[in-house]
Subunit: 215 residues, 4 copies
């Protein structure tokens, strides 16, 4: 509501920085919690278990695999969020709602992760792989919505940001939904191929391909 905005000559006239600061702090909290809750799905053997501990743990490999894949993916998403907000300087209600959509996707991640880990041995594991890659597809779409809204006409960007940088990000982000959507489609055919693609995407974004790459 526009009434909530202090007058431009008020003490917050330059206060937009403070506003995105609190959005970033809240988002950081949600990312940090979602990434840490993943550990709750790493289980210890039941008290009565007679299976040797080493063997029991080794049999849990799908849990460890899903944990690392999701950790890396959420971590990469946090880096991307962090980068966008070095360029976004102002906030409005729509940005808050779009950021909320993005965070909704991020908080959900521990669920498809647990689902994937617990279903890899099942004949219908492809349903779990579809939910898993589908979640990442939705998050990638939310990232694009957020960025397009903020960057369109430089609506919420720092005015001194290089327009070429903005266009480069727009191109780079458009690839996300396509690639995660491909992982979603692959899941119907091959669970292994679908998951391998999500791993490859995390690695691709984690390992910068160009030595000159900087934050």
């Amino acid at each position: 509501m526009s009434e909530l905005r202090p007058r431009a000559d008020g003490p917050h006239a330059g206060g937009d920085t403070r506003e995105t600061a609190r959005i970033e702090a809240f988002s950081d909290g949600v990312f940090a919690i979602a990434i840490t809750l993943l550990v709750l799905d790493l289980r210890v053997p039941p008290q009565a278990s007679q299976v040797p501990l080493g063997g029991w743990l080794a049999a849990q490999w799908p849990s460890y695999f899903a944990f690392v894949d999701s950790f890396a993916t959420i971590g990469i998403m946090w880096i991307n969020h962090h980068r966008l907000f070095t360029l976004i300087r102002r906030a409005d209600h729509t940005l808050l709602v779009l950021n909320g959509l993005l965070l909704l996707g991020v908080t959900v991640v521990p669920f498809p992760t647990a689902l994937l880990a617990s279903s890899l041995h099942r004949p219908d594991a492809r349903v779990a792989a579809m939910v898993y890659s589908g979640t990442f597809t939705c998050i990638a779409i939310a990232f694009n919505l957020l960025w397009h809204y903020a960057a369109s006409g430089s609506r919420l960007l720092d005015r001194r940001v290089d327009p070429n940088a903005v266009r480069a990000i727009t191109r780079a982000y458009a690839v996300g939904p396509a690639l995660y959507g491909l992982a979603l489609g692959l899941a119907v055919v091959s669970v292994t191929a679908s998951i391998a693609l999500t791993v490859a995407l995390a690695l691709f974004f984690a390992l910068p391909s160009r030595p000159r790459a900087a934050v």
Copy 2:
């Protein structure tokens, strides 16, 4: 205790900003954790389950529905909290306690959410719907207590805030307890109507009705 307050000519003479900053940081943490803990009630099928995965997941729709409804409601509450604290510049003991009451309500939300999700199939689901809308009613009341205390005579507000803006917020916030109270009353008659109202309220606050709306 007044002794705890550094002297006005001390290094914190202008330090009230810092004080609300830490209240905001603590509140952000609580909001972020409460909103993220909601995911812990999205369950995976038991190991021995023979039901096809797609069907099993589809049958869990009340959990997904309750998750999104509560996520949206806590998200909107965070936006409101964020807005209030762009106007509140000073803090005292009573504000801390009232903010604590509000956060008590927010941290509870995962419980009525899980209760609602697990009870929708029961004949006495209206008890769960009453607890759910009752929790939101209490939070809406706590918001009003906090705002009235801070705004009364501009007690803790930034002195340059427009009095018309203060009155507009006071009017807007008074609607919250009334509408969530209505959802509480509706739950006795119709669980569906009560929950639909909580969804409508989240959507209403998320989608600004006026194109000129800003933060």
Copy 3:
């Protein structure tokens, strides 16, 4: 290690504020998470439960009671921590370790809370009440250790803090271990009296007894 400290003429010459800032941020995180994890012990009825929902929930009153008592106690402790760090301006290794001891106590609270809630119906509930009040006694002692270390000879305090204020806090904090220790002793005789004292202490600190009280 002293080598880790940038030289006094370095860019951090005035950087002590930044250092306590990160201690506060980390502590805020721990307080916020501990207070929010309390909700995980509010349970929903098992799927197969035939008991009417209202009756089932009412029978869980010890959980709700313990939740609110612990929430209020952690909340008051956060307010106290927040107040101390408006006076503490510098940090050293010992302060970090003492603050860690305090946080150890705070993170434990969800455990005695769940223990108390699940044991109130047992004949040996006084063991749970002793663990509960004993935890708070330890935290109160840790608060005193932290404050004495920081305030002794104004070691880490803002130099402009009023010495009378420091003495007043020292006196006020000495009461904590005594009163929570009393609750611990009372638990041997009467579980009800012990718990009532912890509630009374939370209320006493939450409701300022003197109208002039400020942060």
Copy 4:
């Protein structure tokens, strides 16, 4: 991607501080959550338990022991992370990824902690002790990777940091993987000796050996 970096003459020309600030905030969140989630493995007796409460709790000593050991170790790691980032002033993509590796190790800690607590009574407890000390070894290695990358040629350090201080940290950190690796090796021979070493390391780092030690 270098395009994401605002031009050096932009409003962020001096903004590197802000960048590490958000890395620290995210890391603080992860440390705070991981350290607090440890409490979820402190269990209350099952409802039907007939064992006296005191005896039941006493039998859980491995859980309390593992809780305190892991709490202290994560706490020490947080202090170290905090110290490094008083020296690191700039960030790039590689630093973010190395910090992510470190945080991956930290978020995992509640799992080997629960594993150790639940396995101490088993004949094959040494597997759990190896996972436990192995996790800390990996975290110590990640710390070294992070520090070497940042400090090599003063790549990301505050330019006014004393080179002797940098060399002292490099020497001190090299000890970590060696000592935790020793604990890992000891676990094969003696579970008790391995765990005792992890406790000794936490105490050694918590209790500064030199009275002149400062942050």
